[in-house]
Amino acid sequence: MVKKVAIIGVGNSKFGIRQDVNIAELTFESVKPAFEDAGVVGRDIDLLVLGSVGSGGWYEEMLPAVIAAEYCGLTGAGLLRCEAACASGSAAVFTAYSAIVSGNTDLALVIGLEKMREIDTPTTMELIGRAGYYLWEFHNFGMTFPAYYALYATSHMAKYGTTEEDLALVAVKNHKYGAMNPLAQFQREITIDDVLSSPIVAWPLKLYDCSPITDGSSALVLASEEKVKELGIDTPIWISGIGSSSDTANLSKRLNYVGLRPSVIASQRAYKASGIEPNQVEVASVHDCFTIAEIMAYEDIGLCMKGDGAKLIQDGQTEIGGKIPINLDGGLKAKGHPIGATGVSMMYELTKQLREEVEKTRQAPLNKYIALAHNVGGTGHYCFVTILRR
């Protein structure tokens, strides 16, 4: 009998340029509310899984899990750090989930953490640009992360007629919801013209097509069904299924550039594990590191046919009132994208959505209480899809 796993406590720091805190203090900002939410303390936790990418790169510490554990009172718990690039947070959730499912532990803490603003922007671009295949695609060619997704954008535009305006619509929508989310890095709405007139980063992607460089942390307390009962948790949010997949390190070895195959496979695996169909999902967070990524995600996780992603955003189907509201926290685009924290923060948001605890203006209408988090690592190098149910 496979054990059930629930999210019983959540916390999320303010996202943004957080020069006011070091990594330990930033972590504390999400762990404390997660503990208070669950009614536990650090010494109750058997296992801490921390998702983070930038240790020794974006920030100065090499062993963030150890520092987080000491600072938040978990020393003695089992510790590890997960890396799956921008999907490290989901990988951390998967790891803690697996530990509970297997009966290894009953209570685990997941932290997603990134501190990206302690170094200058060109160096950050350099480090992220190396996150593909340094030897073959960075060393001589200076790829950047926006450039990787721009390759997909030009290919998608050529094949399906997707336009720069379509991409801009994603940014406009996500800024609209970001402006309603006090935790978001960007707190203001923007227009299509703002996006189109912003400086080009890697054509066709402009500044406002790109998620920002962000500091942030997010935390979840995960528990077995027995522990949920023991603690008397009112509204556990159950992890109903997780699917994961991957693609080649070299972009040149990919089948095509109009979608991310691991998103297709990971989502199919998650739907199967959860026993649901895509049309049963009522609210989702998808990996909008760049505007084109959100349009491809619609298609890849089965919300529409391949090539119809732009139509979904044009018709407002991914806003509240549409077929399936997406990225109601502002997404990576407006909430911010602290790489290792993002996957955990998606689940923070969806837990709040399923509990109907978010700001009223950005609360998804729910009936079946099923949510989906789609978290891509690298340029589709990794993908995790997690389905949550109340």
Binding site: N140, G142, M143, I200
Partner: protein, 143 residues
């Protein structure tokens, strides 16, 4: 939560890696002669670029080298304006993924084309040219 909070500087660090290439030396030497080599597995026949010393399909380590030639069709492109720190000295550059006639795909720069002329579906030729540091690299040029 502004950008002018008190901070102090960490000790600096410089990392330069010595990347081994003894097993793919023919590729690197080939570039110096203006040739771009790929590998083909002697056991299962799988052709691979970038070149490899070991076959991911049949796990054989017996590879033969062959030269990449012919026309490519551009499948994707971008013009990189905001460059990483180690490419700050370069002018903005165009990166493409080109598919050669034999199906092998290559991610590299496209040079010698007006930006507005770069399109998905355009034809290009694989050549070896020196980069700004004087090192030979493979790239596409328009046909």
């Amino acid at each position: 939560m502004g950008v002018s909070m008190p901070t102090f500087k960490s000790r600096p660090i410089t990392l330069i890696y010595d990347i081994p290439n003894s097993k793919t030396l023919q590729f690197w030497d080939g570039l110096k002669e203006g040739k771009v080599y790929a590998t083909k597995c002697k056991k299962c026949g799988k052709a691979t670029f970038p070149p490899v010393a070991d076959c991911s399909d049949c796990l054989s380590s017996e590879m033969e080298w062959f030269e990449l030639k012919g026309e490519a069709e551009i499948e994707a492109f971008t013009h990189i304006i905001i460059r990483p720190s180690s490419f700050q000295q370069e002018k903005p550059y165009t990166v493409v993924i080109g598919r050669l006639n034999d199906g092998i795909k290559i991610l590299t720069w496209l040079k010698g084309s007006k930006l507005s002329a770069v399109k998905v579906g355009m034809k290009a030729k694989l050549v070896v040219r020196s980069n700004s540091e004087g090192e030979p690299i493979y790239m596409f040029v328009p046909i």
